[in-house]
Structure formats: structure tokens, C-alpha cells
């Protein structure tokens, strides 16, 4: 497996699994406007996933399509960060997750626009505008919930805290990103991410979380116990009809 293939899968799996979770809010959001907004965000994430997985298939050169990669890989072959697979929890937890993830994606795609790999640069160029909206949407909610009522403040603080131990993984560097010219080394984004996220959290009147422990493993296919259930749902119909077209 080439570095470029693995790197592209990491990005694609992040987007795919994030989309799967975001879509769980549709028809369950706190208000109709939010069903629409989260529908948009999920669609953006899914669109990014499709472009990236399709490209991963091309890079691999074994004839696998976006669907082969999404529906016919096993749990340990998915390379998304664990943050993306966590259950949504309440709306505050979901907005904390989106703030952390979209801010990361935004910084990443900004850099990736000048990747030496033209396809990745192209995907990033389109996606960067989308995720700027995601960041904005999450920011607005973190502010409203953090500085809303006593209950919403407590929930927002809990959400920020609960997702925090899954953020370091987004910025973990490794040999692959260091040697792959087309890649962005995510460790170079962490400082600016922290600055931006802190600014939002401060403005929301919440406190910036701390954590003695940071989870890791997603980039090597080690996931949380939640992930297997997500995959079972995602893949069951496709796996039940191997070879079928839809």
C-alpha cells in the first residue's frame, strides 16, 4: 500500500465517518432550520469522502471504487480519527465535536490546497469553503449554548470536555506524513487550531478543557467500541448483496 493511498484513505475515512454521524441528526434536530443545516454539513462531508475515496481507489490501482472502500473494508482497515466515530450525544456534544473537527479540517484543507498532488489540492480547494461554513455554524452554537441558559452552559462545558481527549489524535505526526511530499503534517496545524478553538471557547464563557489522557489509534485502524456498530449499520445492506449495483 502506497503512502499516498493510505494518506488519502485517512482523509476520506475522516470525512465518511463524520458524515455518517452528522446524518444521524436529520429528522432529530432541535429545530427544522437545524435539520437543514446539518443536512448540508453532512452532505458536504459525504461529498468530500466520495472524492477522496474515489481518488484512493485510483491511487491504489486495484480497481476498487468509493463503494468498495466504504462498504467492503473491515473495521481495522478504516483509518479515521476516533473523534469522528464517537456517538453524537446531545446537541452540545455534537457541536463540540463539529467545532474541533471542522476547525482541524479547515486548517488542513487550507494547507492541502497547495499540495504537490493536484487531485488532493483540487479536493481541498473545494472543501475549504465548505468547512469554513461548518466552523462558523459550530462556533455560533458554541457561543449560544455556552452563553445561553444555565443548563445549556453546563451541557456545552460537558460536551467540550468529553470530546477533548479525542483531539490530540488529529494532530499526531508519523513517518508517513513526514515522508509523503503531498501530505500536510498535521502537527504543524495544532498551534493555530488551539488558538482558534480557545478563542471560541473563551467567548462562549466556557472553560477550555484539559485532559490527562488523549486517545489514539484511529490512524492505525484501532477504533473505539462504538465503531463496529456504526460499520454494521453502514455496510449491512451492501454486504448482504455482494456484487450488486445500486
Amino acid at each position: 500500500m502506497s503512502d499516498l493511498f493510505i494518506y488519502t484513505l485517512r482523509l476520506g475515512d475522516d470525512a465518511l465517518i463524520a458524515a455518517q454521524r452528522t446524518a444521524e441528526w436529520i429528522a432529530a434536530a432541535p429545530q427544522l432550520e437545524e435539520d437543514v443545516a446539518l443536512g448540508n454539513i453532512g452532505l458536504d462531508q459525504l461529498g468530500q469522502a466520495r472524492s477522496l475515496l474515489q481518488y484512493a481507489g485510483t491511487v491504489e490501482g486495484a480497481g476498487r471504487t468509493e463503494d468498495d472502500l466504504a462498504y467492503f473494508r473491515d473495521e481495522r482497515d478504516f483509518l479515521n480519527a476516533q473523534l469522528t466515530e464517537l456517538p453524537n450525544g446531545d446537541f452540545a456534544r455534537s457541536m463540540a465535536k463539529l467545532l474541533y473537527f471542522a476547525t482541524y479540517q479547515h486548517l488542513l484543507y487550507e494547507e492541502l490546497r497547495s499540495s504537490s498532488d493536484e487531485t488532493l489540492a483540487g479536493v481541498a480547494g473545494k472543501a475549504v469553503k465548505e468547512v469554513a461554513y461548518h466552523v462558523d455554524h459550530a462556533t455560533q452554537w458554541v457561543l449560544r449554548l455556552g452563553d445561553g441558559t444555565e443548563e445549556s452552559h453546563a451541557r456545552m462545558q460537558a460536551g467540550l470536555q468529553e470530546m477533548w481527549p479525542y483531539t490530540a489524535e488529529l494532530f499526531a505526526t508519523d513517518d508517513l506524513v513526514q515522508r509523503l511530499d503531498a501530505a500536510v503534517d498535521p502537527s504543524t496545524l495544532e498551534e493555530e487550531w488551539l488558538r482558534r478553538v480557545t478563542e471560541v471557547i473563551d467567548a462562549s464563557t466556557c472553560e477550555r478543557p484539559t485532559s490527562a489522557y488523549q486517545h489514539s489509534g484511529g490512524r492505525e485502524g484501532r477504533h473505539t467500541e462504538h465503531f463496529g456498530y456504526l460499520l454494521a449499520e453502514l455496510q449491512h445492506v451492501a454486504r448482504s448483496h455482494p456484487g450488486a449495483k445500486w
Binding site: 465518511l16 455518517q20 446524518a23 444521524e24 436529520i26 429528522a27 432529530a28 434536530a29 432541535p30 429545530q31 427544522l32 432550520e33 437545524e34 435539520d35 437543514v36 443536512g39 448540508n40 453532512g42 452532505l43 459525504l46 461529498g47 469522502a49 466520495r50 475515496l53 468509493e66 463503494d67 466504504a70 462498504y71 446531545d90 446537541f91 457561543l143 449560544r144 449554548l145 452563553d147 445561553g148 441558559t149 443548563e151 445549556s152 451541557r155 449499520e233 453502514l234 449491512h236 445492506v237 451492501a238 448483496h241 456484487g243 450488486a244 449495483k245 445500486w246
Partner: protein, 308 residues
Amino acid sequence: MDSFQATIDADGRIEPRDAMPEGYRKTLIRQIAQHAHSEIIGMQPEGNWISRAPSLRRKAILMAKVQDEAGHGLYLYAAAETLGVDRADLLDMLHEGRQKYSSIFNYPTLTWADIGAIGWLVDGAAIVNQVPLCRCSYGPYARAMVRVCKEESFHQRQGFEILHTLCNGTDAQKAMAQDALNRWWWPSLMMFGPPDASSTHSEQSMAWGIKRHSNDELRQRFVDMTVPQADVLGIRVPDDGLTYDEQTGHYSFTQPDFTELYEVVKGNGPCNQERLAHRVKAHEDGAWVREAAAAYAAKQALKKETAA
């Protein structure tokens, strides 16, 4: 009121600021609200398959469709609000069971083929019902319907395309498509409401230009449109009495069992309880979020004021 009748007679549009009979206003509120409620309840049976859609392309199309339904809900509630009611109050009426939504959404989606069948048959029936509403006498409703119908005809084609793929797929896929048609055919026919002979409200609504065609006319139109499409798919409409009349150019068909429709309307359908419970739960779970948004907005307004 003379000007109201004159506008109706001239096939003109009534606008929010215009005088209108109380009965007209109430009928419209009821109808538009029911329509809006149907859009948002209708998100559930299809939303049920987003996480399990068997290809990423279909997943994206389905997400976009369900999102469109939320959008339709938004314009329709906005159209109802032009008649002097609040969306929040209409939602309360839905949640308390005091206003209805389309009974079709009280049937479960059991396989992926149901997503195709809903697009093809349910959106198809909705379009037949709604296209005439684009010429409804109440302007905001008519304009909302133009937008809704445009998107729904897109959804209808997507549904047909799902089934078309299944019907040209494996035996299991084709069986799935046939099974979906078997289950959704009769409920779809019921979407046009009771037979004209027993339909209430209809006459006055016709006179007011809210309704343009009778239930039975629209049902016929739907059957005439749909049967040839089933032939193209190569699946069989589950009606032994279906025949084509060369002379009239119409199909004759068996009427659905309307006692089932009345039961489902009364609350006795397979998913009535789940649909309402899901909706109420989403609303209640979201209460603290809406309160927080309101509290934040009030704080921001106060800050602006004191700064000014």
C-alpha cells in the same frame, strides 16, 4: 368580502393583507399546516435508511431528499404564518394529535427498495395532488407549491431510478422492488383521500379555489401515469382488476380498502405511535437548545442596546 369573491371569480390571487372569509382562512391554515406536518413527519420513514443506504451516491441523494423535505416544511410553515398563526403553535397541535399529517407516513420502510417506492409512488402521488395547488387562490401557498413541486418531481425521478436499478439487478433486488410495490401501491392510492361520494370539505374548497380537482379525478390521473411506468420497470401492480380501456384512454382499477385509510387516520396504523413519538422526542430533546438560543439572542440584544 366582495373584492374577495371577485378575486376568486377572476381566478386571481388572495394575498395576506387581503380581506378573506374566516372559513377560507381556517381551511387554508388547516390544509397548509397538515401539508407542512406531512413534510416533516415524512422525513422519518426515509431518514430511516440514510445510515444504511447501499452506495455513497444513493446515500447522498437520500440525505439531500430528506433535507429538502425539511426545507418544504419551512416554506409551508412560513406560508401558514402569513395567515396569522405561529409555527410553534402548529407544531404543538401536531404533537398533541390535534392536527393530522398524511397517513402514508404511518407505514414502515422495511427494505432499501421502499426508498425507491416512496420516491416513485408517494412523491408521484404528492405531485399529482399538488400541481393543481400551484394555482391555488391563496398566493403564498401557491408560490410555496411551485417550489415544492419542482423538487418533488426531481425526487420522483430519483425514486424511479432506484427501482429501475433494482429491477435490472440481481433476482433478490428485483424481488425487493416487487415487494415494495406490493406494499406501497394501496397506501399510495389512498393518498388522494376518500372517494368523492364520501369526501367532506371538498365542495367549499373547490368554490374557494383551494381545491381544483376531485379526489377520484386525481387518483385516476395517478394510476394512468404510474401503470405504464411499472411496465417499464417490469414489475407488476398488485391489482388483478387492472385493465386498460382503449376507448377512454384510462385504466380501470380496484379501489383501495378505505376502511384501512379511516383506521390509519384515526391513529390505528403500523407506525402512528412511533412517528409521533419520534417527533415529540426530537422536539422535547431540543427544548433546552431553543431556550438557550433565545436567551443568547436576548443577551446580545441587551448588549447592543446598552452599548448604543
